[in-house]
């Protein structure tokens, strides 16, 4: 998909740029006599970049530019299209169905980002402690599971669990809460929350993977020192683990926010956007507009707006979680 390309841009160019000498601290100009040498070195550097750049341009930049281009046309995907100017963008920003889907995606940030990161921090602190005192490989494997299962399988499974006779309702009945059972995904109030929790569950696995690996990099001496100073588990968490995980939290926030805003699989499989439009997200709408409705232009305009929103949000997150130098 072209949606995630803004986030990938810098990943792809960043590391490759390092050996060429472009990335240097300070950034002050070198004396003029070194310029020709530098120029040659730069050309060689571009040569090294070429294979990756070529793939990147063909599979990321071209589709993205094409998406932007198509967003200015009215096109059904088959017959010749006609120039539409900004009409598609006007529709994206005025059609309540389309704006509603953008709001739903923003709301998913709570489920995809806030909940799993909070839960992931607590869980990884607990699992991390156990790893140091005694190992718990099984617990970790189980907690990683959501990240291992394909999203479509996740969606199908949760759809069964949320059904009228599904696991969730069986559990509720078993504890005497038979009165609140319902077909969760068909309920206008609860479907959105139900789908959101599926996202939380999936993202929890990712957050755990990232946080646990982060905890391993924290110097054990810090924990030791904290303990000698009489810190309990909570103090240890806030004073050592949390600050030590700052970069990982940044990564987790970035990835989960993108997943929330660009969500497709889980919604498409569980509710398809229903009941009504209660769980409709841009991802599903883009797919529907482009492939069922034959409104490729509108779909592309929505995709462009969505990727702009994502790019802005990711940029903001990057600023906020940047390490103080």
């Amino acid at each position: 998909m072209t949606l995630s390309s803004p986030a990938r841009t810098e990943q792809a160019t960043g590391p490759a740029a390092t050996p060429s000498g472009v990335r240097r601290p300070g950034g002050r100009r070198r004396p003029r006599r070194a310029a020709t040498v530098r120029g040659r070195r730069r050309r060689v550097a571009y040569l090294y970049l070429l294979p990756a750049l070529l793939l990147y341009v063909v599979f990321e930049v071209v589709p993205w530019v094409r998406t932007v281009e198509l967003s200015f046309y009215e096109w059904d995907g088959v017959t010749p299209g006609t120039w539409a100017g900004l009409a598609n963008y006007r529709e994206v920003l005025s059609d309540p169905r389309l704006t509603g889907s953008l709001l739903h995606a923003l709301g998913f940030v709570g489920f995809y980002t806030v909940l799993p990161i909070a839960a992931g921090l607590v869980l990884s602190a607990v699992v991390g402690r156990h790893r140091r005192t005694g190992s718990s490989g099984l617990a970790r494997t189980i907690l990683f599971l959501p990240q291992v299962v394909p999203l479509v399988a996740v969606g199908v499974t949760w759809r069964w669990m949320y059904a009228e006779d599904g696991t969730i309702n069986q559990l509720l009945r078993a504890v005497g809460l038979g009165g609140v059972t319902r077909a969760w995904l068909g309920d206008f109030t609860w479907a959105y929350v139900a789908v959101g929790f599926v996202g939380s569950w999936v993202m929890l696995g990712l957050c755990l993977v990232v946080f646990l690996s982060g905890i391993q990099k924290i110097d054990p001496a810090l924990y030791e020192a904290a303990r000698i100073d009489g810190a309990g588990a909570v103090r240890e968490f806030t004073a050592v683990t949390l600050p030590g995980l700052r970069p990982e939290i940044g990564v987790a926030v970035t990835v989960t926010v993108i997943a929330a805003l660009a969500s497709f699989d889980v919604v498409y499989v569980t509710t398809g956007g229903g009941p009504g439009d209660a769980t409709m997200v841009p991802g599903v709408l883009i797919y529907r507009l482009a492939f069922t409705a034959g409104q490729v232009g509108t779909a592309c305009a929505l995709a462009v707006v969505l990727s702009l929103i994502i790019a802005l949000v990711v940029l903001a997150i990057g600023r906020l979680t940047k390490e103080p130098s």
Binding site: D76, F188, G272, A293
Partner: protein, 446 residues
């Protein structure tokens, strides 16, 4: 982290941008779709009903999971030993999305299954079948209301004009009912809508589920359409489904049907969980035995037969009077000959085979209503299909098959789903419901 990478110097960005632009320029720029083949021109020319004598391979692109197409291909191969049918299967969703591209490519198949006409015919991707229909005399063997579903005018209006595809077996939506439960409640097969509603109430009083109805995929639209058909001349329903200019669903019949559907939901005839129940979930509930009716299509006939042999019956939703014509909702598996087909004459011979009594038996055995010669097929014992045959025959005789409202525009299925889910819980009024449907329709047809 993305932001910890320094911003690339301007010059590098310039090179990047230049490369990108060059490549974009080389690959694809300008008006989209400009390279579509022929652009509305469909091939025509001499046709023949003579088949080649040398070995020929007929490629057939399909998305049928019922086994019908496969069995029909085998039957055809048996009759013509020098012809091999090469079946190419693609699963549901991706089939529809990729079909137009495949048909427009250099490797177009000889036959392709269509789920709806959509833009495929308008884009000049198909070969008109009228010369073949005339040569083989399909109009005499196949009821017109069934063949007309695959006709389209140049303006895009469906239901008349050029024939673009031929049916390979029909679906039919109607009322499944539990004959045992009905008998124990003293309910006989209703012959009018009033009797049907009385039966719903009786089942509810007895604590049974009156009408098991999935709606996660918007299946309440079947109820709405079946009711609409009964409140007006079914020909009007057909016109609306086909997008005939000037037709509307914001009519007395449409509003009355939506009102009835909403009232059934409000009265508790339809389970509260219907919005969260999918098709297979509703069938699973129905075969448990405490549901009286279920509005469903023949695609679930085999499942119901296996779970409750001999205790399931079928009828089309009765009209307002006992002598009202029999009306059904349904459409066909359909096959079209792509414009770029290599062996169009052989493909047409295959389509003609679909109208034979042998093919009728194959279509029916796989759960579809036969294209022709329905009187020559027999239902298996203890099967709901026996009732299906009776109902299908009545519908065919009154020429009362109406195509799905869901296919009236490319987006109508989504609109019916979203609106139907809101209607059954009272979030939109019946008036708003039909107006939303008409708004979708107007957008596509005006």
């Amino acid at each position: 982290m993305a932001s910890s990478t320094p911003r690339p110097p301007a010059r590098r960005a310039g090179v990047l941008g230049l490369t990108a632009l060059t490549l974009v320029g080389l690959t694809a720029c300008g008006t989209p779709g400009g390279t579509a083949p022929a652009g509305g021109e469909s091939p025509s020319g001499a046709i023949s009903t003579e088949l080649p004598t040398e070995d020929t391979t007929l490629t057939l692109l399909h998305t049928d999971t019922s086994g019908t197409i496969e069995a029909l291909a085998e039957g055809f191969e048996k009759e013509h030993e020098n012809i091999t049918v090469d079946l190419q299967y693609t699963a549901g969703d991706s089939y529809n999305t990729s079909l137009d591209l495949t048909l427009g490519s250099d490797s177009a198949p000889d036959l392709a299954m269509l789920n709806m006409l959509g833009n495929t015919a308008k884009a000049g991707l198909l070969r008109p079948l009228d010369p073949y229909a005339e040569a083989y005399g399909w109009e005499d063997t196949v009821p017109t209301s069934q063949l007309d579903q695959w006709r389209a005018e140049d303006t895009g209006t469906l239901g008349s004009g050029t024939l673009w595809a031929a049916p390979a077996g029909f679906s039919l939506v109607g009322v499944y009912y539990n004959t045992e439960l009905a008998a124990s409640l003293g309910i006989e097969q209703p012959t009018t809508l009033d009797e049907f509603e009385a039966a719903l109430q009786k089942a509810k009083d007895a604590g049974a589920v009156p009408l098991q109805q999935p709606n996660q995929g918007g299946q309440s639209s079947y109820v709405f359409q079946a009711l609409t058909n009964n409140f007006q001349d079914p020909a009007l329903s057909t016109e609306w489904a086909f997008g005939a200019p000037g037709s509307t669903i914001v009519s007395d019949a449409g509003t009355q049907a939506a009102t009835t559907l909403a009232a059934w939901a409000a009265a508790g005839y339809i389970p509260e969980s219907s919005n969260g129940t999918d098709g297979s979930g509703a069938v699973a509930e129905f075969v448990k035995g405490d549901s009286l009716f279920m509005l469903d299509g023949n695609w679930d006939a085999t499942t119901v037969d296996e779970a409750m042999p001999g205790t399931a019956g079928f009828f089309t939703l009765p009209g307002t009077t006992p002598d009202a014509p029999s009306v059904g909702v349904g459409t066909s598996l359909a096959l079209a000959i792509p414009a770029g087909a290599e062996h169009p004459d052989v493909a047409a011979a295959f389509l003609d085979y679909l109208t034979t009594p042998e093919a009728a038996a194959i279509e029916f055995a796989n759960g579809y209503m036969p294209v022709a010669h329905a009187d020559q097929v027999e239902a298996p014992e203890d099967s709901i299909l026996a009732d299906y045959l009776v109902a299908w025959d009545k519908v065919a005789q009154s020429n009362g098959l109406t195509p799905y409202f869901n296919n009236s525009t490319t987006t109508m299925n989504d609109t019916l789903t979203s609106q139907g889910q809101q209607l059954v819980v009272g979030r939109v009024t019946p008036q708003q419901y039909v107006e939303a449907l008409q708004a979708d329709w107007d957008k596509a047809h005006q």
